[in-house]
């Protein structure tokens, strides 16, 4: 009985007893959730338009962050380095389309998936040769990301919010809104969605696969750069960031591979749930460090009951 109590009653008593602390936990969860959502968005964009599961999304985050820091270290002003990094991501998109995707067009999905693993290895090797393998510091001050923190006192308690995190969340919201507007209201965005629905029909109206592929890989590159800046300013820039990107996999399981809403909701949900679980259940009952596996177990449960994910596109089928 004591066990049941500590699972089903004590955590909630704690939450109510210290609402300011609960709020702090939720905020931390939200910040990491937003970042998971961003990485997942990169996956979704590429998967929707080409049915490629892009294993390289994680390393693209690292590569973008390394390029930004490297260019700044080479003497470019921060914002020039930022623009130049966008240029590098564009060249990367063009290169991937030319060298990897175009020759493999019409091949089975698994071959394209393997090819993205190849891209991952290539970027890991290339990144280390060019920029070196040691940890670096993100140039967050130079980019104008505010430092310091805000303090609040809700319910006579104490809540500490880092100004950096506010910037991250705000930036992510703006970016997602811009992306959604682009996909829904522009000619190219419509073409990306059309391609996701029906390849053949998209070809038949004259939508060029190569243009769209370069575009989505470039968009994924921009997202990677943003994520890289955000994570980098919290945890430094190193190849370990790639591991964080793997968190996008359970997000995709939860949200569905094709759904942009799913990626956003799934990312935030996993960020929140894993923090809550860690603080209220993991630390008192399991000795902590549950964040490393919680998301994957959650994804497993989702897969058992709803394999297309919570927001996976319903296959519209008329009889």
């Amino acid at each position: 009985m004591e066990i049941l109590g500590s699972i089903f009653i004590d955590p909630f008593v704690d939450m109510v007893a210290a609402p300011d602390f609960l709020l702090q936990v939720l905020w931390e969860g939200l910040v990491s959730g937003v970042l998971y959502a961003l990485i997942a968005l990169g996956f979704v964009l590429i998967f929707r338009s080409s049915r490629i599961f892009n294993f390289a999304q994680g390393i693209m985050v690292v590569f973008a962050a390394l390029t930004l820091v490297g260019l700044h270290a080479a003497g470019l002003p921060a914002w020039v380095a930022f623009i130049a990094t966008l240029g590098v991501m564009f060249l990367l998109a063009v290169g991937i389309e030319r060298v990897v995707l175009r020759p493999l067009v019409n091949q089975p999905d698994i071959i394209l998936f393997m090819a993205t693993i190849g891209i991952t290895l290539f970027l890991v090797g290339g990144g280390e040769i060019i920029f070196g393998g040691e940890n670096k510091v993100m140039i967050s001050d130079e980019l104008g990301i505010p430092d310091g923190s805000l303090e609040f006192n809700p319910w006579d308690g104490f809540l500490l919010i880092e100004a950096r995190d506010v910037t991250v969340v705000f930036g992510a919201v703006v970016m997602v809104a811009a992306l959604l507007a682009f996909l829904n209201y522009s000619r190219m965005g419509r073409a990306i969605r059309a391609l996701g629905d029906d390849h053949q029909a998209a070809l038949s109206v004259g939508i060029s696969l190569t243009t769209i592929w370069v575009l989505v890989w470039f968009l994924a590159g921009i997202i990677a750069l943003m994520t890289g800046i955000a994570w980098g300013s919290r945890a430094g820039v190193s190849f370990a960031l790639e591991i964080i990107a793997l968190k996008a996999l359970p997000v995709l399981m939860l949200g569905g591979l094709e759904s942009i809403t799913g990626a956003i909701v799934g990312g935030i949900a996993i960020g929140l749930l894993e923090k809550l679980f860690e603080i209220y259940w993991g630390q008192p009952l399991l000795g902590g460090s549950t964040e490393a596996w919680f998301a994957y177990v959650l994804a497993l449960v989702v897969l058992l009951f709803r394999p297309q994910g919570l927001f996976g596109e319903k296959i519209i089928e008329r009889v």
């Binding site: 059309a194 996701g196 053949q200 029909a201 070809l203 038949s204 060029s208 519209i316």
Partner: protein, 274 residues
């Protein structure tokens, strides 16, 4: 011997093409046909005769299905088009409406139509004007413009697919099996709209169709394909009266009902007779 509505100018000229899928499967064994400007040309034949393959060879959608034109030439307005990609064909004014509609299911009807204008560079106002034109031919689409295409009826999807092609301002539409899975009344409606588009907008059509009866009533000229070869061609009015076409494709015979066993493919019988 030309029907009304046909002019002498040939837009599309397919000359003795051979198509192989996957490097081994020979599907077309020498197909030749011509599509005149301002005409409706029908491509008739049963399942697997090669109608769709012929259309895809023209629109260059074959390559995305690992098909290849290995012999013969295809030219549009005298220009060789075998090496072009589908986007270039659309810009030249040749667009295909694929068999089975192929609408973008999760896009609304209006968004579907707008994707047809993807290759156009003549500005928003012109595109809006053509959207209204499409709606004037297909009033039902205007009612359903905000619905997801996947949830509209089969007839509405066929209309969306044709409307989408119209949005590219085509000179020639390759229309594959527009009657598939539709009620006879809707088939009439769709063919009537095709005829109107042909007469009022001057769009030329090459249409592949199994429904020989309807196709020959609306087309000006017809080709009959069997096992990857053209076995007969002629003005639609003549084909309608041809006794062999009547027997094998229209199911009419002077000798009353026949056992199915007696009905063999046209080509085999023709070989015996000639």
């Amino acid at each position: 011997m030309l029907d009304a509505g046909r002019t002498q100018e040939t837009l599309l000229d397919v000359n003795n093409i051979e198509v192989i899928y996957d490097h081994v499967i020979l599907v077309l064994k020498g197909v030749s046909l011509a599509v005149p400007k301002g005409g409706i040309t029908a491509l008739l034949g049963g399942n697997g005769a090669g109608k769709t393959t012929t259309l895809k060879a023209i629109s260059n959608l074959l390559r995305s299905e690992r098909g290849e034109v290995t012999k013969g030439t295809i030219s549009y307005r005298g220009q060789d088009i075998r090496e072009m990609d589908p986007a270039q064909m659309v810009k030249m004014g040749v667009i295909q409406v694929m068999e089975g509609r192929h609408c973008f299911e999760h896009l609304t009807v209006e968004e579907n139509l707008m994707t047809g204008a993807y290759t156009r560079k003549d500005g928003r106002a012109e595109i809006e004007k053509d959207l209204e034109l499409v709606y004037s031919y297909f009033p039902r689409l205007k009612e359903r413009r905000r619905s997801q295409a996947g949830y509209t009826s089969g007839g509405e999807q066929q209309m969306t697919a044709i409307g989408r092609a119209l949005m590219s301002r085509p000179e020639t539409i390759l229309l594959d099996e527009p009657s598939m899975g539709l009620a006879p009344q809707l088939v009439e409606e769709i063919f009537t709209i095709v005829k109107n588009l042909n007469e009022n907008e001057g769009v030329s059509f090459l249409l592949a169709e199994q429904n020989t009866n309807v196709a020959l009533r609306f087309a000006h000229y017809g080709y009959i394909l069997e096992s990857g070869r053209v076995v007969m061609d002629g003005p639609a009015a003549e084909l309608r009266e041809n006794p062999d076409v009547k027997e094998f494709y229209l199911g009419m015979s002077d000798e009353g009902r026949k056992s199915f066993r007696d009905v063999r493919s046209y080509r085999r019988r023709k070989r015996w007779l000639s």
